[in-house]
């Protein structure tokens, strides 16, 4: 097996609380993500899963340990590691087109590209997420699902090596979620050979979502955030709605629920 794409090695992250010492978000966490792998991270709220994502994005630096991509230490954000934020982080003053092309127009991802090539990439990404016809709309004119699609198109337009997604579907209603889970797998390229897929780290608190999407599920526990288990998801691809009905899917979801149930229960009564 080749070297992992992303490495999280014995990482600890401590946040200073104003004048009151500090809280430990993550403790001694190690995790490898393989090239082309779809990895989901699940865990109850407060388990530090978003912190793991921010460390990989370079938006935060570890207090101890190290995070690396292709063997190089991650020292800051870079367009090779694209991020999709929980609230989408669309620019309200940009249209769908402007948002999707933002990184190509104003960041290094578009360096050396002609205007025509940029426009073509934007066009392609908008088509990919099914937003053709809405190019000139502003975010406030879009539904939640359309905003999510815009954010996904913006992420794809950068052609990052690694896609970091922080609960991107959490704000959507149940039906839209299921539809977009399928879309996400299509866009990721589950129908293509594994070698052509991009590496994805996907944060979620929904166990069925984690199982449906991922090759492996990392289960975290909280206070402090630690990795509790890494579960392989050997469900065949391409996956579709029938996947959810298989006994194997159900068994995996049950297994993961068993790992976090006690903690999730405690979180509801404290």
């Amino acid at each position: 097996m080749s070297a992992p794409k992303l490495v999280v090695e014995r990482v600890g992250k401590r946040f200073d609380v104003d004048g009151q010492g500090s809280t430990v978000a993550i403790e001694d966490l190690s995790l490898d993500v393989r090239e082309g792998e779809f990895l989901s991270i699940v865990g109850p709220s407060g388990c530090g899963k978003t912190t793991v994502l921010n460390l990989l994005a370079g938006l935060e630096t570890p207090t101890t340990g190290r995070v690396a991509i292709d063997g190089r230490a991650i020292t800051g954000p870079a367009p090779e590691r694209g991020v999709m934020f929980q609230d989408y982080a669309l620019f309200p003053w940009q249209t769908v087109e402007g948002n999707v092309g933002f990184g190509l127009m104003h960041g290094p991802a578009g360096d050396g590209m002609s205007d025509a090539a940029r426009a073509e990439r934007v066009r392609h990404c908008i088509d990919l997420v099914g937003l053709a016809g809405s190019e000139r709309k502003y975010p406030h004119q879009l539904s939640g699902g359309m905003r999510q699609r815009t954010a996904l198109a913006r992420l794809m337009a950068l052609e990052p090596q690694v896609l970091l997604m922080d609960e991107p579907l959490a704000a959507l209603d149940a039906q839209t979620r299921i539809i977009l889970q399928g879309e996400l797998l299509r866009i990721w390229g589950q129908e293509r050979p594994a070698a052509e897929r991009r590496t994805v780290v996907f944060i979620t608190h929904a166990i069925d979502e984690a199982v449906f999407l991922a090759d492996r599920v990392a289960v975290m526990t909280s206070h402090p955030g630690r990795l509790k288990a890494l579960i392989d998801v050997p469900l065949p691809r391409p996956r579709d709605d029938s996947t959810r009905a298989t006994p194997q899917f159900q068994a995996l979801a049950q297994q993961i629920w068993g790992l976090i149930r006690d903690e999730a229960y405690r979180a509801t009564v404290t």
């Binding site: 954000p77 934020f85 104003h106």
Partner: protein
């Protein structure tokens, strides 16, 4: 921005009623010099007809534009620097906040001493007055850029300069616009006050703008109706300028039109 006839009628009701009461009361009391709507209309016709008032308004408007432009050119960059860097803010904020409560009219003697009684002193006073609301609102706008948008820009690899241009400024624009509107308002209070005072020192004359015109009618010829005409003229011009700024802001921010 569209004015509907119904809204217009509703908005005009109270002012018209007040004017009618004023006229009735004045006619009943029968005092010679007291300003009355009918006398004001006559005075307005004279002042506009002679060209004196339009000329004075143009003079004042030019000074307001000059001072306002100076204020905006200084306040927006300084405000952006303060709003995006806590070091710059810590360095400049005490200075801004200690001068801000000092009314423009209070620094007028210094302006006259250094710049004389001409246009440059008037522009300096206007710039001083308009600077503070613009800078304070620009700082607030730049500080209130949603952090997640800054993070998004960072993950796309934007430089600091590109982030300022493409994220901070558009995000702060509504707030900067509010500062510009308030700044334009205080620019008018400042210019009238400055021209009044300069008029007092210069003892009248033809180039003092609408403020000096008011001073002359107040101190020399005691024509209260004409002073009211000047007040109304300033109000109308300031209102029109505010609408123009609002229109320009709406054009600059098509995403905020709902």
């Amino acid at each position: 921005m569209r004015l509907r006839a119904g809204d217009l009628a509703q908005g005009a009701m109270l002012p018209l009623a007040l004017v009618a009461i004023w006229q009735a009361w004045g006619m009943a009391a029968g005092v010679a010099r007291v300003p009355l709507p009918s006398r004001i209309v006559a005075a307005a016709a004279e002042l506009v007809g002679s060209g004196d008032l339009p000329l004075a308004i143009v003079q004042s408007v030019m000074r307001v534009f000059g001072g306002f432009a100076v204020a905006a050119a200084l306040a927006i960059p300084i405000g952006l620097a303060m709003g995006t860097s806590s070091r710059v803010e810590r360095a400049i904020d005490p200075l801004v906040e200690s001068f801000r409560p000092i009314a423009a009219i209070a620094v007028l003697p210094l302006a006259i001493l250094w710049l004389g009684t001409g246009t440059s002193a008037a522009i300096a006073i206007v710039a001083y007055a308009a600077f503070f609301p613009i800078v304070v609102n620009t700082v607030a706008g730049a500080q209130r850029v949603p952090p997640t948008l800054l993070r998004a820009a960072a993950t796309m690899g934007l430089t600091r300069a590109a982030t300022l241009r493409t994220v901070v400024i558009p995000s702060a624009l509504p707030s900067i616009g509010t500062g510009l509107r308030i700044g334009m308002g205080v620019a008018w209070t400042a210019i009238v006050a400055a021209e009044l005072a300069v008029g007092a020192k210069a003892g009248g004359g033809g180039s003092g703008g609408v403020g000096q015109m008011m001073f002359v009618y107040y101190a020399y010829s005691i024509e209260l109706n004409r002073i009211v005409v000047c007040m109304i003229a300033v109000g109308l011009v300031a209102f029109a300028l505010d609408r123009a700024i609002r229109g320009a802001l709406a054009l600059a921010m098509p995403w905020s039109r709902r």
